[in-house]
């Protein structure tokens, strides 16, 4: 009975996503609509889309599991993640929106070429394709495993069905479908996770009893530090807040699809409230889960296990849809961004510089399908540790792109040489730090001195940006006029 109810709720959810894709396919008439909705989205869609893209399997599955393990030690990360839209908006949101309009940019790639030249654009495209595809694979793997745990469905069947649904609605409706499905997916996430949080907190005996029981398991669980080192905790917070600027290009690109600046600011309000609700709920679920299921063998199964044990099957189905929603809202955005990178940053400049808008749209749609199918094929036998696969892609991209983007937004003196030095040094240093962490701890989540690769790589990238810039001639006046005129 439970499996049947779950199946019906999940089927309704997936059909709804396909219907949205079909509906919005009629609005796509060119690449501008396909990749940016023609900069026409309203505040709610923009805000929810930004946040839903930022949230993934890592949020819905990985974070409650990590809170289950670390208790309050991991809660500041949720707060830092909630601050991320605020930080990215304040750092680059308004500037990117203005610059994108001036140069008709669809992605960071367009902005990089206009500011730092073609080499920077190719670097960005390379980074997107190399590091975002593993991220999609990790998310699809999570889809397959969730459906396996919840419905007893074969991993391969669940993963392929979810993957095909994502590909179809992204292929047909482009950014329209991606952004609007993000809104719906965000609302489903709110309902599912809030219901689960309140129910599990109530079953744990309320907040006071929860604290006492956590302390009885391990007193360090109710402190903000104790189970992790200070440096690790600080780096964790910096990584998931400030470094979203470079690490989460798929989410930040939402800043350039809003109708106007007022819409963008209102979107920020939606985003902060949405993220507060989700991350607070995730924290409560993780803490209460530790008390209710202290002997859970696989922490990643916390959310589906709690849903099955505590909720009516209909709400259990909604919680599972919420988990799928978190995953799908990330994969669709990443897929579209990779399609844009392959089409706009590689196909047009390298293969067909005179491609018409119609040709670009056609290639963009084909690329969406090809990249989506490639991710599905790679997810047939993926590597383990979804949360750390997400963190790996994020850290490397953050180290490579955060400084060049910030400088493109604010620093007229920054030069092409400086930006390229920053990109390559960020990439190499963060990868090297991962290598050292693996050598020392045989782990993708521990590094020398507790220093995260994104933080270290960004610091190295900044140094190289300064050196490269001051050793080269300033950019021309025309570029400065485009980027920095008030």
């Amino acid at each position: 009975m439970i499996t049947l109810t779950y199946s019906v709720v999940l089927a309704l959810y997936l059909i709804g996503m396909l219907a949205l894709g079909w509906y919005f396919s009629k609005k796509v008439t060119g690449t501008d609509e396909y990749y940016t909705t023609g900069r026409s989205t309203n505040a709610a869609v923009t805000g929810f889309s930004y946040s839903a893209t930022q949230m993934s399997a890592g949020t819905a599955i990985g974070s409650p599991a990590t809170v289950w393990k670390l208790g309050y030690n991991y809660i500041p990360v949720s707060i830092a993640s909630t601050a991320a839209p605020w930080f990215t908006f304040l750092s680059i949101g308004e500037r990117m929106r203005k610059i994108a309009e001036r140069i008709n940019a669809y992605t960071y790639g367009d902005i990089f070429e206009a500011r730092y030249g073609r080499h920077a654009r190719f670097f960005y495209a390379f980074l997107m394709l190399i590091f975002y595809i593993p991220l999609m694979v990790g998310q699809l793997k999570a889809c397959g495993e969730i459906l396996k745990v919840a419905l007893g469905l074969d991993y391969l069947v669940g993963m392929v069905v979810a993957g095909i649904v994502i590909i179809v609605y992204t292929w047909t409706g482009g950014m329209f479908a991606v952004a609007w499905t993000d809104l719906v997916q965000g609302l489903i996430m709110i309902v599912g996770l809030v219901v689960l949080a309140f129910t599990s907190l109530s079953r744990a005996g309320g907040m006071a009893a929860l604290h006492q029981n956590l302390a009885a398991i391990d007193p360090r669980l109710i402190k903000l530090t104790g189970l992790v080192t200070g440096t690790w905790a600080v780096c964790n917070m910096i990584t998931w807040s400030v470094l979203q600027i470079g690490g989460s290009a798929a989410a930040v690109v939402r800043f350039i699809i809003a109708k106007d600046m007022k819409t963008l600011r209102a979107a920020l309000g939606y985003s902060i409230v949405f993220q507060t609700i989700i991350f607070a709920s995730v924290g409560v679920v993780g803490l209460a889960g530790r008390v209710l299921l202290p002997d859970l063998k696989v922490a990643d199964s916390l959310v589906p296990t709690l849903a099955a044990n505590l909720l009516h099957p209909v709400f259990g189905g909604v919680v599972l849809s919420a988990v799928l929603a978190a995953i799908m809202s990330t994969v669709d955005s990443v897929l579209l961004l990779c399609s844009a990178a392959a089409t706009r940053d590689l196909y047009v400049p390298l293969i067909n510089p005179k491609a018409s808008d119609e040709q670009q749209l056609k290639v963009g749609r084909i690329t969406t399908v090809v990249l989506g199918v490639a991710a599905i094929l790679l997810a047939i036998r993926p590597i383990d540790a979804v949360q750390w696969l997400v963190a790996f892609s994020f850290n490397v991209m953050a180290a490579s792109l955060t400084v060049p983007i910030l400088c493109a937004a604010w620093w007229p003196r920054a030069t092409r040489q400086g930006a390229l030095a920053a990109m390559y040094s960020g990439l190499i240093s963060s990868l090297y730090w991962y290598y050292l962490g693996w050598q020392q701890f045989k782990s993708l989540s521990n590094w020398p001195y507790g220093l995260w690769p994104g933080v270290l790589g960004t610091a190295v990238s900044l140094v190289f940006m300064l050196i490269g810039t001051y050793l080269s001639a300033p950019p021309d006046e025309k570029t400065k006029e485009i980027f920095y005129a008030a």
């Binding site: 707060i79 830092a80 006071a208 006492q212 903000l224 905790a233 600011r265 507060t276 604010w410 620093w411």
Partner: protein
């Protein structure tokens, strides 16, 4: 670091904004290291209040910012 802005031709770098961000992050980090988990209301409540207060500060400051920016823009009569 910053663009010339005396004649209003170039953008201004909003240093206060960046300072505010840094302060928020710093206060979060400090709170991490000073909370013991104990509190006058019982075990764990210090931690609870530190975490929830951070969410409240985030929401309140963001809405004040949005309101002020929109008001300034309305005064200037621009929206793009």
């Amino acid at each position: 670091m910053g663009a010339p802005s005396k004649d209003g031709k170039w953008i201004r770098v909003p240093y206060l904004r960046f300072l505010g961000m840094a302060l928020f992050l710093l206060s979060l980090i400090v709170a991490n290291f000073v909370t013991s988990g104990e509190g006058p209301w019982g075990i764990g409540w210090n931690t609870f209040y530190v975490t929830w207060l951070s969410y409240v500060i985030l929401i309140v400051t963001s809405f004040i910012f949005i309101y002020r920016q929109n008001r300034e823009e309305d005064k200037r009569g621009e929206s793009k």
